[in-house]
């Protein structure tokens, strides 16, 4: 039985020798438990870092959105005064505002809309003419030219009784403060997340490399150049890191897409309405996706680089004076 096997082996060897190149095993051991664990750790860290990145870009985009939406619009309010024709006052205010430089358009919020706005408080079937309800004009600004608020305000109060200009300054100031606090906070969280990702990846890679010390030593002792050894490990760990970070990053991107789709498909849903009011469309912008892709490559490179440095460090300890052993 064994003899037959031996003969087969011998025959195969001869056949092999005649055939082309043999398929070599990789110099770096392939499927070790340590490297599977490393891939998993990298995948998890890449996922968490990507989610953080997505959330931070979402929040900062939204905060910037609030800022620009609000600063692009001011409101003129006209309080009803006895003996003054409201329609005339509205027309006058519209004319005055529209003449101003920096104003894009002025629209009167019509009776119907005003009634709808007040409906929750005053009930349906409201006749605005019977009630002293203030009316609004929406002034859209043309962001390029600065509107002189003070001049507009004084011209309005001089010519239209009961008119006042609300430039949302107070709101805007608060929002700007809040938005920048949110952005800074998000960025700080992202930096901490990145730092822990870097540390985890570095330590996990070192852990996976620990089992390879013997391989490094043998390669060194059979006369391999340091750069050759480092190159072998670097290649191996780059692929490993790429596998892990691609899995984690792609999973995060899928999450972004799913959540974005859910938010935009449920516009009718009051819960989703709330979310949309706060976060716009709840979709991670292009910056978020690009960031995740960059993150994937940075993590993979980091893994490769750590393995390279580990090789250099270990080789450095191999040929030493006996006194240092």
């Amino acid at each position: 039985m064994t003899e037959i096997n031996d003969q087969q082996t011998a025959r195969r060897v001869i056949a092999d020798a005649a055939a082309g190149e043999r398929k070599f095993h990789s110099i770096v051991p392939n499927e070790s438990v340590a490297s599977n664990a490393l891939t998993l750790v990298i995948a998890i860290m890449a996922f968490l870092a990507s989610i953080t990145l997505g959330a931070v870009t979402l929040v900062s985009d939204t905060a910037r959105g609030w800022q620009s939406d609000i600063s692009r619009e001011v409101t003129i309010q006209i309080r009803p005064i006895d003996g003054v024709d409201m329609q005339q006052a509205l027309d006058a205010a519209q004319k005055i505002a529209a003449r101003r430089e920096g104003v894009d358009s002025v629209t009167v919020v019509d009776e119907e809309t005003t009634a709808r706005l007040l409906e929750p408080w005053l009930g349906a079937g409201l006749d605005l003419n019977e009630l002293p309800v203030p009316r609004l004009l929406k002034v859209r600004l043309d962001g390029a030219v600065h509107l002189d608020f003070i001049a507009l305000r004084s011209e309005l109060s001089a010519n239209v009784p009961g008119a006042s200009l609300d430039d949302h300054r107070v709101w805007l100031d608060r929002l700007v403060t809040m938005a920048s606090a949110t952005i800074i906070g998000g960025f700080a969280i992202f930096l901490m997340m990145m730092a822990s990702t870097v540390l985890t990846v570095v330590f996990a890679t070192r852990g996976a490399m620990a089992g390879n010390k013997n391989v490094i030593e043998v390669l060194h002792f059979v006369g391999a150049e340091q750069g050759y050894i480092a190159g072998q490990f670097q290649k191996h760990f780059l692929i490993l890191g790429l596998k892990g970070s691609l899995a984690g990053g792609m999973l995060a991107i899928i999450c972004f897409i799913v959540v974005g789709a859910w938010a935009s498909s449920n516009v009718a849903d009051p819960a989703a309405d709330q979310v949309a009011a706060l976060f716009g469309t709840f979709s991670v912008g292009l910056g978020g996706y690009v960031g995740v892709l960059i993150l994937i490559f940075v993590i993979a490179l980091l893994t490769a680089l750590t393995s390279r440095l580990t090789v250099f460090r270990h080789v450095g300890t191999l040929d030493r004076s006996a006194e240092h052993e």
Binding site: V13, A17, F24, H25, P29, V218, F221, G223, D319, E323
Partner: protein
């Protein structure tokens, strides 16, 4: 080829393990290195192999002062030396064939150009039937022979073997010794560290005897 001048080695802050070694190994020479366990045979081979630096004294290897050899020169000098480690140091994830071919593979030599040599060498040490086996499934003696084959594949100028017959039966040991002698006749210097008096009696060669850190030479 390799010259020692007043070489001493001390591990850490301990006593000197090797003291005042002064000798020369000539091109094409053959010597046994012997002495009790812990006498410093492995340490001495590591000095030859430049994986240990002496605490004092001068070592000259292939015309280079060992203390001035840089990291970058080391691999090319080391390729001129073949070494069989006492603990073999085969890579368990590579087949025997790949282990033996490793010194040439890391030099970037084309595989087809050495395949015949690797197979011949494995045949020589009686392992031609285990060519695709992994070291872990081999017996100690088989691993030892594979380690010998790996040391020889690069056609070194010096062969250092640490207890190369420690796991072999007398017949195989004798066969391996014949291989070393033949290698020596073709011009390679050979240093064999061994406890095995029977082995040394089979071949008349220079003997380095280490005892308590000092060396006596019997020509």
């Amino acid at each position: 080829m390799i010259r020692f001048d007043n070489v001493g080695v001390r591990y850490g802050m301990g006593e000197e393990v090797l003291k005042d070694l002064t000798f020369e190994i000539d091109k094409g020479s053959f010597q046994f290195l012997t002495g009790p366990s812990g006498a410093g045979k492995t340490s001495l081979l590591r000095l030859f192999f430049m994986s240990l630096k002496p605490t004092r004294g001068l070592i000259n290897i292939f015309g280079h002062d060992s203390s001035t050899i840089t990291k970058n020169e080391l691999p090319s000098l080391r390729r001129r030396i073949g070494i069989v480690f006492q603990d073999f140091r085969l890579l368990n994830h590579l087949t025997l064939y790949e282990n033996v071919a490793l010194p040439l593979r890391v030099r970037g030599v084309e595989e087809l150009s050495y395949r015949r040599d690797v197979i011949d060498l494995l045949e020589w040490v009686g392992l031609d039937k285990r060519i695709d086996a992994f070291p872990e499934v081999l017996s100690g003696g088989e691993q030892q022979r594979a380690a010998v084959a790996r040391a020889l594949i690069g056609q070194p100028e010096v062969l250092l073997a640490d207890e190369p017959t420690g796991n072999l039966d007398p017949k195989l040991a004798q066969r391996l010794l014949r291989l070393f002698v033949e290698l020596n006749r073709s011009g390679t210097s050979v240093v064999i560290a061994t406890h095995d008096l029977g082995l040394m009696d089979q071949y008349d060669a220079r003997r380095f005897v280490l005892n308590e850190g000092r060396m006596q030479i019997y020509d």
